[in-house]
């Protein structure tokens, strides 16, 4: 049989493939290359012979058992026993490109250089066989026999994003539905009850009656504050017979600071909040707890949800930062810490791989939290189920890769701006005044004292100029304000007194703002193509970092070379600092195009150095540093050009003369100094900083060393199509991303947040899988209701408190958690139609907090650094923190330290999630270790003793009955029942210890009652 020539087959196959997705485009372009290389080549009989004699036996031996039509197995859809099968390739694309062995997947696979693409699975081809395959591809046009005439490659299911989007509810726009009116008038006061009632009637279910007032006050108290109601709160609600009783109860609880503490915890779960980085040494995350406090304030102040989202994603570049009235700090910028609370290794051998993991985690957290999508599932391939492509993942990857880890000043930006501007103005005036003198106070500057030529083999990384930041940035002001031009005068507050200096070369000089001003300066991101980065620098008490692949947690031994310290002790004056990138951390070839990237970061006092290192975070406020940068060279030449020893002229003595002669107004210099020295200090907070906007290539099969085509930074194709407007290189794209998420047309954002609120008030969401609205998640039980909530939420100004209040005031929320009858339970066993409330177990934190609260020993202090937890003997290992007291200083659980490697066993046992990724719905397990804790843990025992003390010291109690009743009122919010009383009195009678012992035992049993840990 005559086999058709390759050209025609390829064309046929190509036509058969419709490029509906980006992945197909990749395939297509690879095929294009194949045509170009082999299309015109005449296939000789030699090729056939070579294949059959040399190649086929190898494929037969190693490949066909899993990848052939003859064996009927096409793992990963790959069939290697026909040319058509080879060309179509498997899930990773065409198996080879004729003529280009090196670029061919099959060759990459048999070389086994990456774990993701490594074949055959259990062995390695002998080198000579690999060579044969390479020869086959390069010299014999990779001839393979055509498919038999009547054979057909098994279909591969195509990824059809549009079809998937059209088929799944969560992508459809939020609708405005008219709520059905109910025959039962009590449900017609609001749309929520109407929608719920409609489904109940549809399923012939009877709702439960209203919960008792006692149950309601307990439920509302726990849901709003995470604490049990006090007996007096219960009483005043029971005696309030007005129709507004519940509404005013809600308002009272909502106005307590405890509201923020309770609801911030839910948000912390979404942000996988922790105060340490985990891994080997469990280093601290600088000031993470300030983010926790920020959330508590935000929920208490009912910051609109869109603002909260904006602050999380772009609080550092927000137009009008939100300033906390009490402290004057910039709240918006603190919000950006949220995405940086993931884990971190301290010395990854593969820095690029480490970056990829961290960005993956950010994508996961952001997409689950705000959109309830599992975008991270599209890391290695198109999403298996949802309308999310592999390219979508990398479009977002680019946005997060362009976002830098920064320490940000929390000082009010307005204040910062005005301080800086007055200094700059004074510096300008000083220059005008000096120049007015006509005669320069110094001799002409030496022309030899200028910046050396970069040399032919070096690329210069341009520094900012007075009119152009050249891609550089600082934590606050535009870098151009730090530029000092050649011969410009500059005054600053040196430790030896005011100084006037003049530089013969243009550069960056932080003394322009004075030594009081701390700042961080960052270069644009550049691809790492050269071995050396030389920086011509001067200064003291400063740091220069080379941030490779976003890796900032620099620490010896491996990464020590990437930080250079300028100290007073070894004052080097003007000198070259050289970063040598020939290091083990690159894990791959330096010159591999586009894989590694870096930027330079300078901080102008030692203060920020270790903090930026991120691991050790002591702040030394008394060290004041400065730096000057004159040139940055990227080169393969080890030796930097020779430079002068200084560019500077100091005018100290000359100045005195000038003042003396009253030629120079003293005030113009002192004005500078005064403005410099009155600058106020700032706190520094981890968070996001803008980086150079950079699109990411696709990581083929999720392997960051195997790069596909570059994808433009954009949001999901399902929302914005494949080619929205391009983003500028001076922005990461977070502003754009925020706009997309907050767009009124986004079908997810407002459904997601209202569903979360519903979940926390009912124990399950309208969509139960609160973090996954995708195909593998649950469908909404009440889709119209969900849309109603989303619309209502937006109409009400995205007020979380308003939505909570609205839900709480419904009949649905106020139902009893006990079913009306067995029938209802049988018809709706999972309670998806909400025929009753759910009896919900208290969360770990709430159990602990309740014990502290009802024994009257809670320390209700708000905010502050984390409190050390009590370490059990089972908790050891590197990074072990200080031992805390058993009672955690009586603070609410939200203030207990959250260290990844040293999580509280008590809280973990009751399902506090380990901080890995977004958890909107906690596990609710029921395990014997919980019983063991409640029975035997020293904390529970200590609190039992305190409860006993409280019961015994109550002045007005006459007898054991009253005391038991008080115990029940405090712990369970209800009086003791006669049978219970009898059982307890019997128990007391049989206990022969001291009163304190007896009542400690009673208290202990009450903490162990199931009723104690369930919301009625």
């Amino acid at each position: 049989m005559q086999f058709p020539n390759h050209h025609s087959i390829q064309q046929k196959s190509a036509n058969a493939m419709i490029p509906t997705t980006w992945a197909c485009i990749v395939s297509l372009s690879l095929m294009g290359a194949a045509w170009a290389e082999s299309g015109s080549a005449e296939l000789s009989d030699d090729s056939k012979a070579f294949y059959h004699k040399q190649v086929e036996p190898i494929l037969e031996k190693y490949c066909f058992s899993c990848h052939s039509m003859s064996d009927g197995k096409g793992e990963a859809h790959l069939f290697l026993d026909s040319w058509e099968g080879i060309l179509r390739g498997g899930i990773s694309g065409p198996a080879l490109i004729a003529g280009k062995a090196k670029q061919s997947l099959i060759i990459q696979a048999v070389h086994q250089e990456s774990a993701e693409l490594s074949m055959p699975p259990k062995k390695r081809l002998p080198d000579q066989d690999i060579a044969t395959l390479e020869t086959w591809i390069n010299e014999y046009q990779a001839y393979a026999p055509p498919l038999a005439a009547n054979a057909k490659l098994p279909e591969v299911e195509k990824f059809d994003l549009e079809a998937r989007r059209d088929a799944h509810w969560c992508w459809q726009p939020v609708q405005n539905h008219q709520a059905p009116s109910s025959p039962n008038p009590q449900y017609n006061t609001n749309a929520i009850d109407q929608w719920i009632d409609a489904k109940l009637r549809e399923h012939e279910l009877t709702p439960s009656p209203k919960a008792s007032k006692r149950e309601l006050v307990r439920r509302v108290s726990y849901d709003l504050t995470g604490l049990p109601p006090t007996p007096s709160e219960i009483d005043s609600f029971l005696t309030d017979d007005t129709p507004e009783a519940l509404a005013s109860l809600i308002d009272r609880f909502m106005s307590k600071p405890a509201f923020g503490e309770k609801w911030a915890q839910h948000w912390l779960d979404l942000m996988r909040y922790a105060e340490s980085y985990g891994h080997e040494f469990d280093f601290s995350i600088h000031n993470a707890w300030k983010y926790r406090d920020y959330l508590i304030r935000a929920f208490n102040q009912d910051i609109p949800y869109d603002q909260l989202v904006r602050e999380h994603l772009m609080g550092d570049i927000i137009e009008q930062p939100r300033i906390d009235q009490a402290s004057g700090t910039n709240e918006s910028i603190i919000g950006t810490a949220g995405i940086w609370l993931g884990d971190q290794t301290h010395s990854p051998v593969d820095s690029k791989g480490a970056e990829a993991l961290r960005i993956d985690n950010k994508i996961d957290v952001v997409s689950k939290t705000f959109q309830s999508l599992t975008i991270a599932c599209a890391k290695c391939h198109d999403h298996k189920f949802d309308a999310i492509s592999h390219a979508d993942y990398h479009a977002l990857y680019g946005i997060f890769e362009s976002t830098r880890y920064g320490l940000n000043p929390t000082k009010s930006p307005e204040l910062l701006e005005s301080e800086v501007q007055s200094i700059l103005k004074a510096q300008k005036q000083l220059n005008i005044d000096i120049n007015k003198l006509g005669t320069h106070p110094s001799p002409p500057l030496d022309p030899a004292k200028s910046i050396p030529a970069s040399g032919p083999q070096a690329t210069e990384l341009a520094l900012p100029t007075p009119n152009d930041d050249k891609g550089w940035s600082t934590d606050s002001l535009p870098p151009r304000s730090l530029v000092v031009e050649a011969n410009e005068y500059l005054a600053y507050d040196s430790p030896q007194g005011p100084k006037l200096i003049q530089s013969s070369a243009a550069g960056i000089d932080t003394r322009k703002l004075g030594l009081n001003h701390e700042l961080i300066l960052r270069s644009p991101t550049f691809p790492v193509k050269n071995r050396y980065v030389h920086v011509l620098i001067d200064g003291t008490e400063s740091n220069a970092y080379l941030v490779l692949n976003g890796f900032k947690l620099i620490r010896d031994p491996i990464y020590g070379k990437l930080v250079k310290k300028l100290t007073t002790k070894d004052n080097k004056g003007l000198h070259w600092v050289t970063f040598d990138l020939e290091g083990t951390w690159m894990h791959g070839k330096r010159h591999q195009d586009g894989i590694h990237h870096a930027y330079l970061e300078f901080s102008d006092s030692k203060v920020l150095g270790p903090a930026l290192g991120g691991l050790k975070t002591q702040i030394h406020q008394n060290l004041r540093g400065h730096f000057q940068i004159y040139q940055v060279l990227l080169t393969n030449v080890r030796q930097p050009p020779s430079s002068p020893s200084s560019f500077l002229t100091e005018h100290g003595t000359k100045l005195n003369t000038l003042y003396h002669n009253r030629q120079l107004p003293v005030s113009s210099l002192h004005h500078v100094i005064a403005n410099q020295s009155t600058q106020t200090d700032t706190e520094w907070m981890i968070g996001s900083a803008e980086g150079t906007g950079k699109d990411s290539p696709i990581f083929l099969r999720g392997n960051h060393h195997s790069l596909g085509q570059t994808v433009q930074r954009r949001y999901l194709e399902a929302f914005v199509g494949q080619t929205p407007a391009e983003l500028d290189t001076n922005e990461s794209g977070r502003r754009y991303l925020t706009e997309q998420i907050l767009s009124p047309d986004n079908s997810l954002t407002y459904r997601v947040i209202t569903n979360r609120l519903w979940h926390h008030l009912f124990g399950h969401g309208i969509v139960r899988t609160v973090d996954n609205f995708g195909v593998l998640g649950d469908e909404p039980s009440h889709p119209e209701l969900l849309d109603h909530l989303a619309n209502q939420f937006v109409r009400d100004g995205m007020s979380i408190k308003t939505m909570i209040r609205t839900i709480m005031l419904t009949e649905t929320y106020q139902q009893s958690s006990v079913p009306m009858n067995q029938d209802a339970e049988a018809k709706d066993p999972t309670n998806q139609w909400v025929h009753r409330q759910n009896r919900r177990r208290l969360t770990a934190e709430v159990i602990r907090d309740s014990m502290l609260e009802l024994t009257g020993t809670m320390d209700a202090t708000l905010y502050g650094p984390p409190v050390d937890i009590h370490l059990t003997p089972f908790m050891s290992g590197r990074g072990k923190p200080a031992q805390g007291t058993i009672d955690g200083k009586n603070r609410r659980s939200i203030y207990l330290s959250v260290r990844r490697n040293f999580m509280s066993p008590f809280l973990l046992s009751f399902d506090r999630p380990t901080p890995v990724s977004t958890v909107g719905r906690r596990n609710m397990t029921n395990v014997p270790s919980q019983a063991l804790i409640m029975m035997n843990d020293p904390f529970v025992h200590q609190l039992s003793e305190r409860f006993a003390t409280k019961l015994l010291s109550h002045g007005e109690i006459q007898n054991n009955q009253e005391r038991l009743n008080l115990a029940f009122e405090l712990a369970l919010g209800r009086p003791i029942q006669p049978l219970e009383e009898e059982a307890y009195l019997n128990y007391l009678a049989g206990h022969h210890g001291s009163p304190q012992e007896r009542w400690t035992a009673v208290a202990h049993t009450i903490f162990n009652l199931k009723e104690f840990i369930y919301i009625p």
Binding site: A115, K123, V349, W585, V927, S929, L932, L979, Y987
Partner: protein
């Protein structure tokens, strides 16, 4: 409409309640000793996927393959023992000792510290042992006596050259925190043969590996399946000792609690499963309180047996580790599914000898050699080795060239683990590294393969043990893993 909430307290009669207060937990203690016999081996064949969304119990259940082993003992050599100094004999290293590895071996991969020295021949002698003639170095003289029971896999690879990630990877098949440990997967898949003891136990020798206790976590699986850590000294298990000094003080409390709880449950119409299981948990917890001390009581063990495990050894850490090994056997006897042992802290820092290899490896091997050998011998003579899979190894191996002058850096590209018992062929080695003991040359086995094989021996097809989380059906072996068929007996 009757207000059900107010009349529920009458549902339980006075007699019921008082009766409940009087006799529950006192009697329960007696049942604990019986319970390990209450469940037979219910492993069977079904070839069905094992998925159990919502499952959180330890009731024994069949796997989906015929099981060879009931329990696993994982001897975890924290820090990464050197393959070329233990079970992977490479005489060429001595020949080229002191030479530049780049010249002798060729391309050298990135190492953790990047402080590579010269080729470092093993300071220890190797000998062939047993009828099988397996090579074992003099670091493990006692284990060497059991050579014919070992299946030494010389061709292991790990994905990460850094401890924490490698530890997570070895334990959970994933290089980051938060996935279930293999012991948790086993409990989830098969339940436990003993309802009074946890199904997954970590016998901690005194060191918690980098990555912390999350190496033994249940991840997204219910907390039921997480590893329970037994400390090397009292108190052995968290919260296992009653706070009450006298037993009756606790049982009376528990009786009272159970009575009030029962009334509460009834008041809800007995509809709330969670509350009923919470009530039952108290019974299990109570039984654990007595089962654990019984487990820890070595009174019935003979002196000969204790000696076998090295209770009288003078080597640092050996008695501690021997104790853990004996405890492991006692747990196997009681049906605990997955028992992991970590190393005792000896003079050096785990097996992680970046420097002073000789001193550190001597100390580490000295601490574990006798205990391991004693365990293998004891299991064998009791007929337990056949149904117990013993696995030995660390998160990666070490470089055949030095780090600095006298250490070895991490090497994930080729290292050794061994298995014994549990339906694995003894007296064989499987796979090999190159002549330097550096990279795998033949029959590469990755961690996923190890997991697949362990599950296979327990009667689980690793591809069919899944849990849906985060939108995916997740497996211990992710999308990888092949059972190493050639080592199955």
């Amino acid at each position: 409409m009757s207000h059900h909430c107010n009349n529920f307290k009458q549902m339980m009669s006075r007699r019921d309640m008082l009766a409940k207060c009087a006799n529950g937990f006192g009697g329960l203690a007696l049942t604990s000793l019986l319970s390990d016999k209450a469940f037979g081996n219910v492993l069977g064949q079904a070839d069905e996927p094992i998925v159990g969304q919502g499952r959180r119990d330890m009731i024994p259940r069949p796997g989906n393959l015929p099981a060879k082993a009931k329990s696993v003992i994982f001897l975890y050599m924290d820090g990464g023992p050197s393959q070329v100094d233990t079970f992977d004999y490479k005489p060429l290293l001595r020949k080229y000792h002191g030479q530049d590895p780049a010249k002798v071996i060729g391309k050298i991969d990135a190492t953790q510290f990047g402080n590579n020295g010269t080729i470092y021949g093993s300071p220890w002698e190797f000998q062939q042992h047993g009828q099988s003639g397996l090579w074992v170095s003099e670091l493990f003289p006692k284990v060497a006596e059991m050579a014919d029971d070992l299946c030494v896999i010389n061709s292991m690879v790990a994905k990460f050259p850094e401890h924490t990630q490698a530890n997570y990877f070895l334990h959970s098949g994933h290089g980051l925190q938060g996935r279930p440990s293999m012991g948790a997967w086993v409990g989830y898949g098969l339940g436990s043969l003993n309802q009074d003891l946890p199904g997954f136990v970590v016998l901690n020798g005194g060191l918690i590996p980098p990555g912390g206790v999350d190496c033994f976590g249940s991840g997204f699986l219910p907390a039921t399946y997480q590893g329970n850590i037994f400390a090397p000294s009292a108190p052995y298990l968290s919260n296992i000792n009653p706070v009450e000094k006298i037993a009756s003080l606790q049982t009376k409390k528990l009786d009272l609690i159970s009575a009030v709880d029962a009334a509460y449950s009834e008041s809800l119409g007995g509809q709330v499963d969670a509350i009923d299981s919470a009530i039952q948990n108290y019974e299990m917890a109570f039984r654990m309180q007595s089962a654990v001390p019984e487990l820890l009581d070595f009174g019935q063990e003979t002196e000969e047996c204790k000696e076998l495990y090295g209770f009288d050894s003078k080597r640092e850490g050996a008695a501690t580790f021997g104790r853990q090994c004996l405890l492991a056997r006692r747990m196997v006897e009681r049906g605990v599914r997955f028992i992991e042992l970590t190393c005792p802290p000896v003079t050096s820092d785990r097996w992680d000898q970046h420097g002073s290899l000789e001193k550190g490896h001597e100390a580490n091997a000295g601490a574990v050699d006798q205990g391991i050998a004693g365990l293998l011998k004891d299991l064998k003579r009791r007929g337990l080795l056949d149904e117990t899979l013993v696995v030995w190894g660390g998160e990666f191996g070490r470089t055949p060239f030095a780090q600095g002058a006298n250490g070895r850096d991490h090497n994930p590209s080729g290292f050794t683990m061994w298995m014994a018992g549990g339906g694995i062929k003894g007296g064989m080695s499987y796979g090999s590294t190159d002549e330097w003991g550096y990279r795998v040359a033949d029959k590469k086995v990755d961690i996923h393969d190890l997991h697949a094989t362990i599950l296979h021996q327990l009667g689980i097809d690793h591809k069919k043990l899944t849990y849906r989380f985060s939108g995916r059906d997740i497996r211990l072996t992710d999308v990888h893993g092949h059972v190493i068929r050639k080592i199955l007996a």
